[in-house]
Symmetry: C2
Subunit: 329 residues, 2 copies
């Protein structure tokens, strides 16, 4: 069906290896024949079969990106950055949606290996899934997650510092009865942030109210909403909330307003990630985040470097967070 090198060779009356060399401009000198070959290829609509090329070269210019949910703006924004940076390096991205499901994550891992991708960037479902990616014979970078697996590259925001900054900001704005709405604790990201939160409390001599450390039962708005309602019912209710994500923070905003309080005046709220939502004028959420582009760049460049140089030295990058000042505190 499709035109191959042999078809072109036949028309131009040369061997197909010559066609290959002509089209790749390799080990061949400029000549009329060469031009003819090029023109014939174009005229016949030749499109090289990348499958065959990859097979014989034993490498692809593709890497896999495994994320939990492409419909979540946090991940889709990072995906976009990863794609951009990959393209700069001439790589394609094979996108895989794990759907917060560790079994699916494993299936995609195997699929990517079968496709002989050059490397993988993974935003893991949980810390338990790290083990899936150790000791593969292609480079893997964990994005947004520290790990105890020593064979994995990591690129992650400095979560402890981020939580410290967030908490400190609330305190400096005068919100001193603080609460933290988090996720499950058995997770580096969570525990790092809680550590940062607590060390800010300590640094500013603020009482650490155990009852104000609460876990949202979902990542969605509802989780933040429910958790905040519980917080507001407590005696000595908090007036400052550090939320694990912007979504949780937005849910918290809703609960605060429903309680007849004004966000940013009666209750300060700060989130993480700076998703596009957070910038909407009607939300205008103060938040803390690293640069997504930098995060993506680091992750991609580690892979590209290890692929191209064949090096194996594991890299662990910790990126500094930045505060995005808006109106919720």
């Amino acid at each position: 069906m499709a035109i191959t090198l042999k078809d072109i060779a036949k028309v131009c009356n040369v061997s197909y290896s010559t066609v290959s060399r002509a089209l790749n401009n390799k080990n061949i000198r400029p000549s009329a024949k060469m031009d003819e070959i090029r023109e014939t290829a174009k005229a016949l609509g030749y499109s090289p079969n990348v499958l065959a090329i990859q097979l014989v070269k034993r490498r692809t210019k593709i890497f896999g990106l495994i994320i939990p949910d492409i419909a979540n703006p946090h991940y889709s924004e990072i995906t976009k950055c990863v794609e951009d940076v990959a393209l700069e390096h001439g790589f394609q991205v094979f996108l895989c949606n794990s759907d917060w499901n560790i079994a699916k994550e494993k299936r995609y891992r195997d699929l990517l290996i079968e496709h002989r991708v050059a490397g993988m960037i993974v935003m893991p479902v949980s810390d338990e899934s790290h083990v899936l990616f150790r000791n593969l014979d292609i480079p893997v970078t964990l994005l947004g997650s520290r790990t105890k697996e020593s064979s994995l590259n990591t690129v992650v925001m400095n979560n402890e510092q981020a939580a410290f900054l967030a908490t400190e900001h609330l305190i400096k704005k005068g919100f001193t009865r603080l609460a933290y709405i988090g996720r499950r604790i058995e997770n580096y990201t969570s525990s790092d942030r809680i550590r940062g939160y607590k060390s800010a409390l300590q640094a500013y001599g603020i009482a650490d109210q155990a009852a104000h450390l609460i876990h949202s039962d979902s990542f969605q708005l509802e989780g933040g909403y429910t958790a905040t309602r519980k917080l507001l019912e407590q005696p000595n209710r908090p007036n400052g909330i550090v939320a694990f994500s912007d979504f949780i923070a937005i849910g918290a905003m809703q609960a605060v307003e429903e309680a007849g309080l004004v966000v940013g005046r009666d209750v300060g709220i700060i989130g993480f990630d700076n998703v596009l939502y957070a910038a909407l004028p009607k939300i205008n959420l103060t938040t803390v985040t690293p640069s997504n582009k930098e995060l993506a760049r680091k992750a991609v460049e580690i892979i590209v470097e290890q692929v191209q140089e064949g090096t194996k030295a594991v890299q662990n990058d910790l990126l500094p967070p930045k505060l995005i000042f808006r109106s919720t505190c």
Copy 2:
């Protein structure tokens, strides 16, 4: 490096074609040898080289999805649906971000052809880009866009009906000085919607104010914001706005509020697409959309059918829109 059929064959003392048959369970009868082969494959960590399989079978179970911007929730939500449905059919998705750039769209088209994908689903940058996809020898479905190219499948919401419904809803809610904020007019989606808008005006005997048909200079919030400010400055300012997208609608909401008016009371606003943003409690935008899942399902199933049956009959599907009632009108 990686284990191949030959390695397994050597260990088990059979030819590698037998290993292939054993692992695929094809033309072979159950036997101890067969079990041995399977176990050896597993023990050695055999992972079939999909590149080689695709080459010899001359087909892939992958199709390309070209979209303008993965970071835009409208597209990322559709992407997710496409991935889900593809997976149901055992297909993988090769995601390409055209970045609203027709040159990039063309590059991705070529790339996908070189990768010998089974088909493509395209959400085109503009109506001009349709020509890029005609008469390829793989099936192509245009998603969200009608076309005059007769070789292309299309799956699209009934835009005329959608705009009619949206406009009618505003009218029935009592907003009768209407405006439409659109995009460039040389585009089926735009012109279909404008037709629906105008026929609703006519059906309800409402004057069609030419000055109230305005084009946003961007898809972003700012476009809707600026357009709405212009509208509100007009004598006999409109009190109902049909916005081309939820983003434009959200920008419009901001302009309306800044003018000291109350959205949903003084000015009704309705958008298109029902992006997640629109559902946020603080936005709560009334909007009209088809089911993204249905849209994706149709698009994928057309491709799958044409790939598997080898049929070529072009399909053009028009999906009904649904109104999502919220508080902006």
